[in-house]
Symmetry: C2
Subunit: 310 residues, 2 copies
């Protein structure tokens, strides 16, 4: 039994265009890192946070990683506490599930330091509590893919019903994070509460198509199904140049593209590394035309979720 561990947990793309609050997947880069130590001091102590530009509180219950650990300790009540270092390795408010990745890294690290490790199904509820603390509702579409890896379908949040979906390989994801900020709360508040039944039926047909495309390893069906006439037309208004950026991804060989989570990051799926890089450059070029700087992340779908680094 080690007393200290370093864990990486991946960023995630929630919604996957048509699957608002329902679908998500993990990427291999970026992600957050947590170093966790068993401590004789009870509770959670946050010793260090890097990469947060001073924005995160070291008060453990005001921070998703700390809060998830706090919930885990409250439930299990072991004879020790945790000291944590949190290294944020991705931009905040980016739509990449940064708060989720930190929480997943923390509880996964904790599970490895427990006398009786918990499995992922047992860890998930603690990360959901931290998402609820952070965003006001217990959405699983970032924490579940970050924890399980790959693509997941959140069939239900209460009770939690997470379905892992196989997917075609190779499958690359390009993410461009433009340097503008959108809060998850605001991105949710601008949505209309009511939708046309007709449009909703189109949406669930596409969700069905996307799930079938993934499981049937049908790249073309995946692309045809990445259509969203409900959320994207509203949220894309918050992202200058969205239509051009998305078009540039598709014009450069993307299977499909759209807003990652509540944005402003935009993601695109493709079949190979060279397309994925070309797509990233084309997307960033379009943002540059809007005088917006941005960062490109290119990686394969992450099949595993969190990993122990040391």
């Amino acid at each position: 039994m080690t007393d200290s561990i370093k864990v990486f947990a991946p960023a995630t793309v929630a919604n996957v265009v048509c699957g608002f609050d329902t679908l998500g997947f993990a990427v291999s880069q970026p992600g957050d890192e947590v170093i966790l130590r068993r401590s004789s001091k009870p509770g959670v102590t946050i010793n260090k946070i890097t990469g947060d530009q001073g924005k995160l509180s070291k008060d453990p219950i005001k921070n998703t990683a700390g809060y998830a650990l706090h919930q885990l300790l409250s439930k299990l009540n072991p004879r020790f506490g945790f000291e944590m270092e949190l290294h944020k390795k991705m931009p905040f408010g980016s739509g990449l599930g940064s708060s989720a990745a930190s929480a997943v890294a923390a509880v996964y690290a904790a599970s490895k330091l427990l006398d009786h490790p918990l499995d992922k199904e047992e860890l998930l509820p603690f990360t959901l509590l931290s998402e609820e603390m952070a965003s006001g509702s217990p959405h699983a579409d970032n924490v579940a893919p970050s924890l399980y890896g790959g693509f997941v379908l959140i069939r239900s949040c209460d009770p939690v019903d997470v379905i892992q979906l196989s997917y075609p390989s190779p499958l690359f994801c390009t993410i461009v994070h433009p340097q503008i900020e959108i809060s998850t709360r605001n991105a949710r508040e601008i949505l209309r509460n009511q939708v046309e039944l007709k449009e909703a039926a189109v949406q669930w047909a596409n969700v069905g198509g996307l799930v079938a495309g993934l499981l049937q390893k049908d790249y073309d069906l995946i692309g045809r199904s990445m259509v969203d006439n409900i959320i994207e037309p509203v949220r894309s208004l918050l992202i200058p140049g969205f239509d051009e950026v998305k078009k540039s991804a598709l014009d450069n060989g993307a299977i499909g593209a759209g807003i990652s989570g509540s944005g402003p990051s935009i993601f695109a799926l493709s079949k190979d590394d060279s397309s994925a890089n070309k797509i990233g450059k084309a997307m960033l070029d379009e943002f540059t035309k809007q005088d917006i700087m941005g960062t490109i992340f290119v990686s394969q779908i992450n099949p595993d979720g969190p990993i122990v680094l040391d």
Copy 2:
């Protein structure tokens, strides 16, 4: 090349609870039969209709089977016409896709009598035109499963994008058709045009779950996903005793149960013949308590769609 052919096309269960306008499957019984003959007389002549209680017109363009054939002839313009006998072997207005089965039987029979047979993809548009004539819109959720067999997802109607979905086997379907009548048009008109985004997201999560359950051969996931908080609560008001009938199916081992198409038939899925029969009896008993007579159909999922009988 034969000049005459007899074809059976299966009844279908559209919607499959959560997948309004999107999902459907074919059963092995009941179904409609068409006898088709090449004729030197151009166009479509309907010689005989049985099982329709005198309700169907022999005017070919006022009848889904005749109309689909009429459209096919108009498109292909062969040097012959068709004489048809139509044998309705299932109740009208039952929610079992009776008009779709007749149209599918007719065009499938026709394709076998053409000098250059059409494949199913080429036949589908003619059956969609007949659905549009019958119900006001070109819904594919009955014609597509009747034509392809098995489970299908209608990702899009325009352009048509039908995805065949594999499913676990064995899989039985019990249908109870109560002797009450609901028109498809009325069942559609009572639906609200607007739905809560929150409820819509629950629905598409269940559609995703059902598609995943089918493809992953996961009976339990199929059952958990057969939930509909949007359409069923409204349409079930038209079916006396609906809640009790559905409950009796689930209490007797059904994986899931709900309204077939726009009703009034109620269907239930189960894993074996003996459960399927027991479920049918239990459902019918509940209708009997409402003083409603009914007919039970029990069969496996139909894997093939239409078949040539002679």
